[in-house]
Symmetry: C2
């Protein structure tokens, strides 16, 4: 099923994909339709899957190496949030007519770079042609000590809510790519665009949270802080409050916010952050600050988990400096 | 990201997908972005992935329950070929604008039916919107005793080549769906179309081959007998010969062949068979016949593995009644 511009499936596998599996015995050299895996003693396998479509999760003219790396990192971020050590991934690629051999070569160079960075290998996959947009699906596998994975449902009332890194950069980077935020400097713009293209799965932090036991409850922020904190609340039977003043933002995002305070919606609801969100008792705050310092990664308390009261679990209230709720309607916002 | 006709992602998950995961603790209720799995003692995990696109792997107006079942069965067939016992699956669904709630309900009813039939559960997934064709990707997981999986590379020169069931029904069923083979009876047509819609993963046979040790080398026929036997040859460093007279065909396919002998190309190269192809020494033939009898599944010797001679491994020669090679050009064919 090759196109005029692209070698057939078996040639693509031999030339480009098999080398990505060569160092991973579990992949069986991609010669067997399956991978065969055994977790190490005392470990469980953590498995996650995500799909990406051109025009929705990435831009069709993004460099193919960036698309590849973002695709992997989105999945590795899910493993990070559980405290897992990544092992490898399976991938299905639906290539449209725009994909030629150079594109595949660039895509695979991105995969190779991130395989080396994160110590993972390609375990298997399927390559097909599609008349529609370029579409990928990745299944990533990792290991956690049995019974120790961080869970969404483990938050307790009174726990503080922490996030890693800074929020909203990716959403603002996408705005910049689309021609917005024109008053930012080129350095600031490039920083935000890079954050959009290249999420940083917080694997070391997630693993340290599991090993230290400082947090039992976490996830990665893909839908946005409000929505994902809502998921923790739903699973834990709680509500949550966020202090608007505490939100960690990059200096580029801060400059953008100074000019247009309405961009707060992108900070808390833009999504695509791939930072970790986790809960811990206030007594853990000092140890978490030290952990962040050791990992050279900002760790910020942004709010707390509270009892739901009469309303259903999962509600998340964003509070301003005076403790008044900031109402967010979809991606917009307004004060009461 | 719901459409006007369809509930949003979280509602779809709650109403339709979470029930499919309810009986599978490893799925964590679909509430955690990941599944957590531990193989049983002494077992390895076998993992495989396949993607399907509307218009290529199924017809857009196929009943959604059929699409769901075929999608699962294509992946279960890969597990069957390794001798694995299936455990569960992860699934990404890229829904286009044609998918409304009734479609999702039908699709999930097909998944539920096959989960019950094959003893598996939904482990996780991702649901997204696409402007392009309906696209699915499934990652299926199963277990095999450590080190015992059937492999493509384990064929030996002199081994006989066996296939399960009958070949070509699915390719002919697709022809019939597209208006061809009009001289077949409606019963014959319905039989072939059913074979196209609903592959039968040969899980019991694959497992029995592993447990009895009668075969070490197998795969499932998805690309067609010629192509897939070529894969066994490539991985095993061998060539193969097929005796055209021995090919097992259904009575419907036989009637079609009687009218148009050119349809032999669909029998050996049409693909989508999802029957098992495996190799075994001639001394195993009687035991394999008994096994087939016990499983009420036709098991037929169709050829043998041979040394490659001067040519590269993977060559497959199709021989006629006089031992002359039948040359197949793509999906067509011609005698020398």
């Amino acid at each position: 099923v090759g196109s005029a511009k692209r070698p057939g499936e078996f040639d693509l596998i031999r030339r480009y994909f098999a080398p990505l599996a060569a160092a991973t015995p579990a992949a069986l050299g991609l010669g067997d339709d399956v991978a065969i895996l055994t977790p190490h003693a005392g470990q469980e396998l953590v498995v996650t899957t995500d799909a990406l479509v051109a025009g929705i999760h990435f831009l069709p003219d993004d460099p193919p190496a960036n698309i590849a790396r973002k695709m992997l990192r989105v999945n590795l971020s899910d493993l990070a949030a559980k405290g897992a050590v990544p092992v490898g991934y399976l991938m299905t690629c639906a290539f449209d007519g725009s994909v030629d051999e150079a594109w595949v070569a660039g895509f695979c160079s991105g995969l190779a770079a991130d395989q080396a960075e994160f110590g993972i290998g390609l375990l298997g996959g399927d390559t097909i042609s599609t008349p529609g947009p370029l579409t990928f699906s990745v299944t990533a596998l990792g290991e956690v000590p049995a019974g120790r994975a961080l869970r969404r449902k483990a938050a307790k009332a009174g726990d503080l809510v922490f996030v890693s890194g800074t929020l909203g950069d990716s959403a603002l980077g996408l705005k910049r790519l689309r021609g917005g935020l024109s008053r930012l400097s080129s350095e600031e713009g490039a920083f935000l665009v890079d954050r959009y293209h290249l999420p940083q799965p917080r694997l070391q932090l997630g693993r340290a949270l599991l090993e230290t036991g400082l947090s039992k409850a976490g996830l990665d922020i893909s839908d946005g802080l409000i929505a994902d904190l809502g998921h923790v609340g739903e699973e834990s039977g709680l509500a949550a409050e966020i202090d608007c003043r505490s939100l960690p933002v990059s200096s580029a995002a801060k400059h953008a916010l100074d000019r247009d305070p309405g961009l707060i919606a992108d900070i808390v609801a833009g999504g695509d952050d791939y930072e970790l969100l986790f809960t811990a008792p206030g007594t853990a705050a000092t140890a978490l600050a030290e952990l962040g310092h050791r990992l050279e990664l900002k760790v910020t308390a942004v709010g707390r988990m509270i009892e739901t009261g009469p309303r259903p679990p999962g509600e998340v209230r964003l509070l301003d400096a005076e403790g008044r709720e900031i109402a967010l309607e979809r991606r917009g916002w307004q004060h009461f």
